[in-house]
Symmetry: C2
Subunit: 327 residues, 2 copies
């Protein structure tokens, strides 16, 4: 059987995660990694796989079954996914929720024109969490769902702290409130404010001589990022930050409670506890890359989301095997 030939477009944390995930799936092989950097400056984990400049991707049109895009949602993917969908079957992790309809429409047009299959907004949220929100809502229509994130590192919030005057380095953990989660699990369907759902914990390295009180106050009052939350700031040394906070753990919870009849309520809970956010996200992208290739082989083109893909397409096992062993 021919292996699925995978390309990786963009080689940061997520790209390296996909490289690892492809190695974990025996029916796949990494064909090439595409980068906007000088290819000679990039070294891969896998041996004997070429690093190619992004400008040369078109030359690989017939050598790659699916391209997994590992760029960022802010500026990379809105441009890259439609462009690459005109040459390849593609998977991306576009996560700017408000712009998903627009991105879908751009990618759908490009993919259909080129008779390619594209999957956008894959990963864990959007992705596995979205699936769980959907399944739970369909099964318990009279109910309410709640998504909690963490405990985990938020890159965006960490970056925001690093931009504060006097800050040398920082990591921010998003922490879901146990109290809020337990209220949800009780089936009482509480109304929860932003402040009640999550707290934020910051580990900050101050520059020498910096005004720590001013830093703490600036962080805690930062609109959008922190002002709506109960935030704790800890000042620590660069050494301690490197030693204790250099991982990229994350995770979260999707909980729906609902009633079927007056006296009977039910709670559906899905949770993830991840040592490495990028490696897990990459694993989801890679499983869905298999599905995308199959849909493309069936002539099912255009843009899809995880909602549109039957679960069996994700597995290397046959339908008979799945029915006999996993059902």
């Amino acid at each position: 059987m021919n292996k699925i030939r995978v390309g990786i477009y963009g080689y940061g944390n997520l790209g390296r995660g996909v490289e690892i995930a492809v190695a974990n799936n025996e029916d796949m092989e990494l064909k090439a990694v595409f980068t906007r950097r000088d290819p000679s400056s990039v070294s891969l984990i896998t041996e004997n796989v070429p690093v190619v400049h992004a400008d040369k991707a078109e030359d690989w049109k017939d050598k790659i079954d699916v391209m997994i895009l590992c760029g960022g949602s802010a500026t990379d993917l809105p441009v890259q996914t439609p462009a690459l969908a005109s040459m390849f079957n593609v998977v991306d992790s576009f996560d700017t929720h408000a712009k998903i309809p627009e991105h879908f429409s751009n990618v759908d047009e490009a993919a259909k024109k080129a008779s390619k299959t594209a999957l956008i907004s894959c990963g864990w949220d959007p992705g596995m969490f979205s699936l769980n929100r959907l399944y739970a809502e369909c099964v318990l229509p009279n109910g309410k769902d709640y998504t909690f994130w963490g405990k985990g590192i938020s890159q965006g919030h960490s970056d925001a702290i690093r931009r504060v005057e006097g800050v040398a380095d920082a990591k921010q953990y998003t922490v879901p409130s146990e109290e809020a989660m337990n209220a949800v699990r009780s089936g009482s369907m509480p109304e929860l404010t932003t402040r009640q759902k999550h707290t934020r914990e910051c580990f900050v390295v101050a520059k020498e001589g910096a005004d720590k009180a001013a830093i703490e106050s600036t962080i805690k009052n930062m609109p959008n990022y922190f002002s709506d939350y109960d935030t704790t700031v800890h000042f620590i040394s660069q050494e301690e930050l490197n030693e204790k906070h250099s991982g990229m753990p994350h995770g979260g919870f999707v909980i729906r409670s609902g009633k079927t009849s007056e006296n009977n309520s039910h709670v559906i809970e899905y949770s993830l506890k991840l040592d490495s956010n990028p490696e897990f996200t990459a694993s989801v992208l890679t499983a869905y890359a298999r599905a995308v290739v199959r849909l493309a082989n069936e002539g099912n083109h255009g843009c899809k989301t995880v909602f549109d893909i039957a679960p069996a397409y994700l597995s290397p096992k046959s339908a008979d095997e799945l029915r006999a062993h996993l059902l």
Copy 2:
């Protein structure tokens, strides 16, 4: 828009659950309930819905979009699902795991011959738990999954106790071991014996003058049902049994842990906490009934399982709405 016309075949706890679930879904209407009993002896919750003898089902071929089968897996469904799939789109909850391949093949043949769509083995296990086993395995191929059931009433085990000499009535709870679940959640991928995963708790009403020690010993040593488990037997009065143990709660956990790389492991956990096993099962069947009608309308016939159905088919919402609000 025309509502989906649902038929219920078999009117016990599960059938009543489907009746409630159909009422909870605005795009559906209950068209008729089919029973092998004397229809005049059956009264429904819903007003103005006919109760029809099972023998007359064929007369309703053109008046029902999907028939939800609510019989038992031991003797009813192996016969009923293929027979009804030759006249209707159908959904069943067949749960004899070892016989799923045979049942699938029988139903597939009947449904294809009649150009109908059938879904078998739907509910929560098989069903939602199967989906979670599949998704988690695809996303974390280097891992191990564990299914725990309970805390909940097992009908089969309760029945087995009631057959013991001297027993007037009984309820049995399957209880998952917190210790075993925590070992799994730690990511250590333990090997667990049957005894380590679940305990069994029995509430027994003895007949007057019965030998309680003999009853307890017979239960605890019963092969298949109890001898492989740590079992606790409580003797209580019929009044207490009725008062405290008349519900049908259930639930459980599907937990998979796996590694992406040497130092990074991840835990995916799905759990259900159900006040009413039959009402929740019925809610799953009903959501999938919508999917079955859509597949049938697309000409996608034959037998399916939950693995074959894209999640979007379960929802009454449009693809645009799902992308904008749930993704």
